[in-house]
Symmetry: C2
Subunit: 407 residues, 2 copies
C-alpha cells in the first residue's frame, strides 16, 4: 500500500512549553506509526514572537522589515529544532528544516511575503529515509537569499503550501479549539462542531469574523483542492473537514452564524445625486488605506441622497479624515458616525438553492425587536448591521432559528 502523506501544523499554543512539545511529539509519532509519511509545520513557541517583537521595538520605533524577518524567523527555527529532538527522544528519526533549507521561495515583500515556489527536494529525500520531517513555519527565502516571513497566519500557509507541493492527502491544522463551530461557543453554549464545511463557506466565515484560520491559506487549499482538517492539539476527537463539496450539502442551507463587533459606520448626508459621485467618494477613502465593507445608498427622489458605509473600527480615523475631505469637496452635508454597531452574518452554500433564507433571518430578528440598520448579501452569506449591544442576543436567535443546535 502506498503511504499517505499527511501534513500536520501545530500553532504556538500547542508548543508553548516543554511538556506540550513532548505531547505534540507523541501525537506526531502516533500518526507516523499508522504507516503515514508525516511532515510537520510548527509555529514559534508560545510568546516567543511577542518577546522578539518587544526587543526590536525597544531598540527602534521603526525597525527595518528586512531585519524584522531576520529576527522573527528564529522563533520557528527554535521550535522546529526542539520538536525534532522530542520526536527523536521517542525513538523515531526526525529532522528539522528552515524555510530556506526546504526551498520555500518567496517574493521580497518582507514581513508579508508571498510563496512563489516550493522545491521540497530535501523533504522528499528525508521521507524516503523514513524520517519525520519538521519544517519551520511562517518563513521562506527570496531570490536574493534574504530570509522572509509570510505575515499573519503564515504557518498555516506554510502547511497548506507544503501539502500542495508534496501532493499530501490531507493537511491537519492543530489548534486550541476542537474544530469549526456553528457559532462562537463562548456566546452560544448550544454551538455545535461542524463535521464538514466547504472551502467557500469557510472563506466566507473567516472574512465575516470566525478566527480559526486565515482566508489566505483556505484560498490556496481551495485552488489545489487539499482537504484541511481543523482539530484540537489536546484531544483525539475528529475536528472539522474543510473540503471542496460536502455530500450532504443540499440539505443544509445555513452552516454557521458569525458576528463582528469591530466595525463602525460613517454616513454622509445630503450627497448631490449625480453620476460618478460614489466613485469619487470611495476612491478618496480607499486612498486613505481604509477597507470599506458594506455600502448602502438609498434611492433618492430628490437631488440629494445619504450614503452610509462601514469600515473596520481600526480604520475609523483615517476613513473619517478622508470622508470629511471629500464631503467638503463635493459640497455634501453633515457627517454622522456610529462606532456602536455590529455585523451579524449567516453563512451556507445551501442558500444558493434555498429560497426564503433572508426573509427567515429578518423575521427572526424582528420578532425579537432587533432593528436592522444595513443589509449586505453575497452568494452564500447574508449580513445585517445591528446595534452592538444586541450582538450576542442576535447570534443566539439566529443560531436557534436555523436549528444549528440540531445538526
Amino acid at each position: 500500500m502506498k503511504k499517505h502523506i499527511i501534513v500536520q501544523k501545530f500553532g504556538g499554543s500547542s508548543v508553548a512549553n516543554v511538556d506540550r512539545i513532548k505531547t505534540v511529539a507523541k501525537r506526531i509519532f502516533e500518526t507516523k506509526t499508522k504507516n503515514n509519511n508525516v511532515v510537520v509545520v510548527v509555529s514559534a513557541l508560545g510568546d516567543t514572537t511577542d518577546e522578539l517583537e518587544e526587543l526590536a521595538f525597544n531598540i527602534t520605533k521603526n525597525p527595518s522589515e528586512r531585519e524584522m524577518d531576520m529576527l522573527m524567523s528564529t522563533g520557528e527555527q527554535i521550535s522546529c529544532a526542539l520538536l525534532a529532538m522530542a520526536v527523536k527522544e521517542l525513538g523515531h528519526d526526525a529532522i528539522s528544516f528552515t524555510g530556506n533549507q526546504v526551498g520555500i521561495k518567496t517574493d521580497s515583500s518582507h514581513t508579508k511575503a508571498r510563496i512563489e515556489t516550493i522545491c521540497g527536494k530535501r523533504i522528499k529525500a528525508a521521507l524516503k529515509q523514513n524520517k519525520i520531517v519538521i519544517v519551520a513555519g511562517f518563513q521562506g527565502v527570496s531570490d536574493e537569499d534574504e530570509i522572509t516571513t509570510l505575515g499573519r497566519g503564515g504557518s498555516d500557509l506554510t502547511a497548506v503550501a507544503l501539502a500542495v507541493a508534496l501532493k499530501a492527502n490531507v493537511c491537519e491544522i492543530f489548534t486550541d479549539v476542537k474544530g469549526i463551530y456553528t457559532t462562537d461557543p463562548r456566546v452560544v453554549k448550544q454551538a455545535r462542531k461542524i463535521q464538514n464545511i466547504t472551502f467557500d463557506e469557510m472563506l466566507e466565515m473567516a472574512s465575516l469574523g470566525a478566527q480559526v484560520m486565515q482566508a489566505r491559506s483556505i484560498e490556496v487549499a481551495k485552488r489545489f483542492n487539499i482537504p484541511i482538517h481543523v482539530r484540537s492539539s489536546f484531544s483525539k476527537e475528529e475536528g472539522t473537514m474543510i473540503v471542496k463539496k460536502d455530500e450532504k450539502l443540499e440539505e443544509i442551507s445555513v452552516r454557521g452564524v458569525t458576528s463582528n463587533k469591530k466595525e463602525s459606520k460613517i454616513t454622509i448626508c445630503s450627497v448631490p445625486d449625480q453620476p460618478g459621485i460614489a466613485a469619487q467618494i470611495f476612491t478618496e477613502i480607499s486612498k486613505s488605506g481604509a477597507n470599506v465593507d458594506i455600502i448602502v445608498q438609498n434611492v433618492s427622489h430628490t437631488k440629494l441622497t445619504d450614503i452610509s458605509f462601514t469600515i473596520p473600527t481600526s480604520d475609523f480615523n483615517k476613513a473619517l479624515d478622508a470622508t470629511t475631505k471629500i464631503a467638503k469637496k463635493i459640497r455634501a452635508g453633515e457627517i454622522l458616525t456610529d462606532k456602536n454597531i455590529s455585523r451579524i452574518s449567516i453563512v451556507g452554500s445551501g442558500m444558493r438553492s434555498h429560497h426564503g433564507i433572508a426573509a427567515k433571518m429578518f423575521q427572526a430578528l424582528a420578532k425579537n425587536k432587533i432593528n436592522i440598520d444595513m443589509i449586505s448579501t453575497s452568494e452564500i452569506s447574508i449580513s445585517c448591521i445591528i446595534d452592538q449591544k444586541q450582538t450576542d442576543e442576535a447570534v443566539k436567535i439566529l443560531h436557534k432559528a436555523f436549528q444549528l443546535d440540531k445538526i
Copy 2:
C-alpha cells in the same frame, strides 16, 4: 586614501540587554565615521545560549548535534538583527547576515565545525554600498546545506576568519576586560595591562590558563598575520595588541604569569623500567579521552621507576580508570592521586635568548618556601606544579620577581 577594513567582535556580555546593544551600536558607528569599513561579528545576547541549551536538555538528555546547531545558531541570528536595527536607528545603513548568507563554509562536524572557506561576496558588496555589516558569529553552513556551529570561542573564530577573508587591517575583540594582563588582576592588584604581546606568547598564555581568548582563533590570526586588538566594550582605552613580533621584544623576557588550579596528578609507583612501557601507559590513557599535560619519569637506578603525570581535573575519573587498568596489566605498584595541585607558569618570547630565567623562578619560589613538585618547559614558558593552597601567593611572588608591575 583607501579605507581601512576593521573587524569588530562583541561578546555576549557586550550585548546582554537593549541598552548595551545601543552602546555597542554607538561604538560601531564611531568607528565607521573615522572613514573605516566596519564588519561586526556578534555573539548571542547574554544568557540566550544557556536558555536554549536548557530547553533542549529538558526535552532530551542526549540531543542530536545537528538539531543543537539548528537551535543554538538562532542566538546569534537574533543579536545580529537587533544590532543592525540599533545601528540603523543611529542613522547609518547597516545589514545583518547569517553565517550561511556570507558563505562561511564549514565541515560537517556539528557543534565543533571547522571553517573551510569564506566567500564574503555579500559582505564586500554591502561594504561597497557603504553599509555597516553585522555577521552572526559562531555559525556556518556545511556543503550539505546544514547549519553548523563552531564550538567554544566560535565567535572569536568567525571574527578572525572574516578578517583573513577580507584582508582586514585589524581584528578588534571587545570583551569585559581591558586587555591581556601580566597576570590575573583579581589575584595581583599590581597586574599591568600588556601593550603588545606576540601570537606565540598569547597562545602559550591561553593554553596555560589565561581565559581571554581561545587558542584556536589566535592560531588562525598567527597563520595569516592578522593583528588582534583585545579591548574593553565599556571603555575607549586602548587594549592589548596581539602581533607577530613586538619591537621591544628583546628587552622583556617574561611577559606574564598564569596559573591553573584545575589540574590533578596521578602517580604510578614501581613501574618496570623497560623500553616501551611509557608508550603503553600513555596510549591507554589517551584512548580514554583524557588530555595528559605534564609527564615526569625519574631516572631509575633500580629496575623499577615512578611515573607521574597531570591531567585536567575534569578528565580525572576517566584517566584514573585507564591508569588502574594499565597498571594492573604491566604489573606496576600502587597508584597515588592528588587533586590539590596547581600549575603556575611564566611566559615570554624573550626567554629564548635570556639565560637564568628558570633559575630565577625556582629561587624566588624556594625563598618563599614554595615547594616545586614537577617542572615542565617549552621554548617560551616554564611551568611548575605546586601545592594548590600556595597558588595565589606564588603568582604574586613571580609577578614581583620578574618586575611585571613595572612594565
